[in-house]
């Protein structure tokens, strides 16, 4: 951790040559890269399929040998997502409020959005921001320290506010993503016509 930039670079360069396994892994990836680059010239479909099969085989081997570790890692990832959803820390919660605010301002300023899209965005962002403001005012009235998340979520009303605002935020993001996906597809179709 306390290495200089030069030492960090040296460690990074010598890392693949530390054991036979690391050299082997490096070689596999180099061969894959060469195949992919070469096939960009040849554009052979058989090679494409063979490389995909090889990659799947390689990662299946990894899954086979490190199944328990992979399950643990996946569980931890899902648990982290759940923690962010059910019990977000104050930094993450503030970030969602900022994103919501940016979306609201963008929607107000943008003129070429449909009316329905604007109305839905206004409703969702304002509910989210209203809940966020409520959360802050509750924290002030309860004299709750926001640095410790256990301190926040021992109050049922604060937990409920955060939970509902997270649900609203997810709906907002999903709506925006789906809308943009459909919008891009629609405009592409229009262009091709």
């Amino acid at each position: 951790m306390d290495l200089s930039i030069l030492e960090q670079l040296m460690t990074f360069i010598t890392l693949p040559f530390q054991s036979f396994l690391t050299i082997e892994i490096l070689l596999i990836f180099i061969i894959l890269l060469i195949f992919l680059l070469y096939n960009e010239k040849r554009k052979n479909n058989k090679v494409k399929i063979a490389i995909i099969a090889l990659i799947i085989f390689f990662f299946s081997l990894l899954v086979f040998y490190f199944f328990d570790d992979i399950v643990t890692v996946l569980s931890e990832i899902i648990k982290t997502i759940m923690r962010c959803f059910y019990f977000p820390n104050i930094v993450f919660y503030n970030l969602t409020a900022i994103i919501s605010l940016v979306i609201l301002i963008y929607t107000i300023l943008k003129n070429n959005l449909t009316k329905l899209n604007k109305i839905i965005t206004y409703i969702l962002t304002l509910i989210h921001l209203y809940l966020f403001t409520n959360f802050i005012s509750l924290a002030i009235t309860n004299n709750t320290s926001l640095t410790d998340i256990a301190n926040i979520y021992q109050h049922d009303n604060m937990f409920i506010i955060v939970l509902f605002s997270q649900i609203i935020f997810i709906i907002l993001i999903l709506y925006k993503v789906i809308y943009h996906f459909c919008y891009i597809r629609h405009s592409k179709l229009k262009n091709t016509k």
Binding site: S75, I78, M82, R83, Y86, A150, N151, Y153, Q154
Partner: protein, 224 residues
């Protein structure tokens, strides 16, 4: 005839074009059903972490209050605080009164008071009504929970324990350490006989025997 044939062909084409979508929907539903139990278990673990964090926070607050009381010797404040704490306890009947920890199997789980309606095998590891609390001298603290694959199988890894393994119970801002001294099985008859040394304070854990539908396993720990 020709028109009818065309209509039939269109219909079958439509059905064929819908088949991948229906298949995809079934696949999604199948995956959701398949992962629902592990997800529930993970959600339970996340909530458990938070409950334990709140339990630890409350213990710290209790400790701080005690230190303050000793320092200030303000009896009026103490009685008010106690009444307030009791009222809070009545309101939040899911708040933990203690925690069981077995480092070997990475088990950390809180338990509620015997009187709480959440002292139930479907919600938590459960204190038997016949049990003594850990602070009772020479008492036997008895805990029960499911084993298996369900998300409420809190004792699913107890079968990995061996004689000599350690466990600890936090209760009333004190930690009681125990060592496993005996493991035995009994048939599931609705009751269980506990064989323990009456001259020692013990912790008893009861769960279903691993991969066996007809027996239950009893783990006897003695205080170190």
């Amino acid at each position: 005839m020709w028109l009818e044939n065309q209509k039939m062909q269109r219909k079958s084409k439509n059905i064929k074009s819908q088949l991948p979508k229906v298949g995809f929907l079934f696949l999604i539903v199948g995956i959701l059903i398949f992962i629902s139990t592990p997800l529930k278990k993970l959600k339970g673990e996340v909530f458990e972490e938070m409950r334990l964090a709140i339990f630890q926070l409350n213990i710290n607050e209790t400790n701080n209050t005690t230190i303050n009381n000793v320092n200030t010797e303000n009896l009026e404040v103490t009685s008010e605080n106690t009444t307030e704490a009791e009222e809070n306890d009545k309101k939040a009947n899911y708040s933990y009164i203690g925690e069981l920890s077995i480092p070997k199997i990475k088990l950390r789980r809180g338990f509620v008071s015997k009187e709480s309606r959440y002292n139930n095998i479907e919600y938590n590891i459960t204190i038997a009504q016949e049990a003594n609390y850990p602070d009772v001298p020479l008492g036997n603290f008895i805990l029960m929970a499911h084993s298996g694959n369900a998300y409420i199988s809190f004792f699913d890894k107890l079968y990995k324990l061996q004689i000599g393994d350690e466990a600890s119970v936090s209760y009333n801002a004190n930690t009681y350490n125990y060592r496993l001294t005996n493991i035995y099985n009994q048939a599931k008859t609705g009751t269980v006989a506990i064989y323990r040394n009456p001259n020692m304070k013990t912790l008893t854990l009861i769960t279903c025997t691993h991969n066996d539908d007809y027996n239950q396993t009893i783990y006897i720990f003695e205080e170190i």
